[in-house]
Symmetry: C2
Subunit: 143 residues, 2 copies
């Protein structure tokens, strides 16, 4: 689950690599689910490392730029990010209980076609995020 060294090295693409950025990529890669900037900063702090909040924001933005991280939605007004390894076109299911994230297939054709003909738009991209409870959290809630 933890990101490998090769991944970390490539996380920032052609941009400059620093100790802070390595920490950022490493911790983000080990988060295991969707996380906010605050979650990430807290996790970094747990490792006894201090990073300026602005550095975290800028680092995450850079990781998003290279595609290493993906913005997958929002929670309580904060942006949610995740390292998603699923290849190809897909969307995300985010567990509102534990932040766990799963990839979901995209029923693109069934949505886009009708939408285009109904509105005259030419659809070039889209974003679909589903929120819910993963099996564990769902069963925990039933107790």
């Amino acid at each position: 689950m933890t990101a490998r060294v090769r991944d970390i090295r490539q996380a920032f693409g052609a941009e400059r690599m620093t100790a802070q950025r390595e920490t950022l990529a490493r911790v983000a890669g080990a988060m295991g689910g969707a996380f906010t900037i605050d979650d990430l900063a807290a996790e970094v702090r747990k490792r006894e490392i201090t990073l300026g909040l602005a550095t975290v924001y800028r680092g995450v933005a850079a990781l998003e730029r290279t595609g290493w991280l993906e913005r997958v939605g929002e929670r309580d007004g904060s942006a949610l990010f995740a390292r998603c390894r699923a290849g190809g076109h897909h969307h995300h299911l985010i567990c509102t209980g534990c932040g766990r994230i799963e990839a979901a297939d995209c029923p693109l054709e069934e949505i886009v076609g009708p939408a285009e003909s109904a509105t005259g738009f030419v659809v070039t991209g889209h974003e679909i995020t589903l929120y819910g409870l993963c099996p564990d959290c769902a069963s925990a809630q039933r107790d």
Copy 2:
């Protein structure tokens, strides 16, 4: 397109109706598409009416509570709202050219069902946004 009197009366459900709220519901109902709080406030101002910004926020929240308005996404960090047909699921198309937004019906079940059975999640909410070019921008781009 303009909301009828009956609609306005029911917009706030059992909550108290005031002159400000009537204005709010009337203007929101006449917006024709998605709008931000700011758009709405500006439109109200055009009618030579003054409403406190907090009143607009609280009024929109109330309209959302009753289902009369729906939060449909965000633009430049501001929440986007729209008056949508009650009950029906739908998604939105955002024009990357001019920012114009259109709503279209959406067969949500076709996304949620398969996603739930594939992952074991219980889906409780969703965010769907399509990006593309509206007819005007699409033809402008061809020139």
